[in-house]
Symmetry: C2
Subunit: 146 residues, 2 copies
């Protein structure tokens, strides 16, 4: 079962109606390998449903985020970019060249948390880790062009 069908199913299970505008938005986001701004989602969605309104994009993004299907990706300039959500304990690695974003897991911060908790009196309940770097394609281009 592909991601689009999964998302549609989740929406249906939560009493949402499946409409043409929503299908267009879901398709754009579910298949994107980089984080998109609301405005970009709007533009790209118009390819499959030209009559779509920007308002509907915002409303659908909110739904998808609340259902845990999409997630924010932060960047230096802003934090309103959206990507298919991570599964469980995964984090994003964002290419600073082209924006292509992949997921990774396996960070082990338990020891760090323990040390911080005993040293500061704070209790650590959540962490947010995001990596930046260069994807193979961008590095290759950089080497040949610069």
């Amino acid at each position: 079962m592909n991601r689009i069908d999964q998302w549609v199913k989740v929406l249906q299970e939560n009493g949402c109606r499946i409409t043409a505008p929503r299908r267009a938005i879901i398709q754009v986001l579910a298949e994107s390998h980089r984080a998109l701004q609301p405005n970009e989602v709007y533009e790209l969605s118009r390819a499959s449903y030209s009559g779509i309104g920007l308002v509907t994009v915002y409303r659908t993004l909110e739904r998808l985020e609340n259902l845990g299907l999409i997630q924010r990706v932060h960047r230096e300039d802003g934090c309103h970019l959206l990507m298919p959500a991570a599964n469980g304990h995964e984090h994003y690695l964002v290419c600073t060249g082209c924006g292509r974003t992949i997921l990774f897991e396996g960070d082990d911060l338990g020891a760090l948390f323990a040390r911080i908790e005993s040293g500061t009196g704070y209790r650590v309940s959540d962490h947010w880790l995001q990596l930046f770097g260069t994807c193979p394609e961008c590095r290759e281009m950089g080497q040949t062009h610069n």
Copy 2:
């Protein structure tokens, strides 16, 4: 030498003039233990310089950020909160109750980066790590009041 004087010095060294509005803004930010929104900086600055304009706040924030004196703190809902910048390799730990933010260091992600690089072909150049939790004061209040 306290932080306010340090910041003033850095500004002067970079050809900036020290004005009353700037002093007000610097004082607010340099002494804050939690991240502030531009609007909050504005309100708090009016205490020491009532005639200040919001525009000046935005302009000064940009300066301070460019000079590396303040830094953004990210939160679930937004990333436009500002704090005195970390020194070197430090990260923030934000209390989700009161917003009080402290710094820590000593995260060792080298092994993780190496594994990701060899596994994905990406090169990791930068990382953002931010922790969320509860400060001692908030935890105590939570226990007695709830």
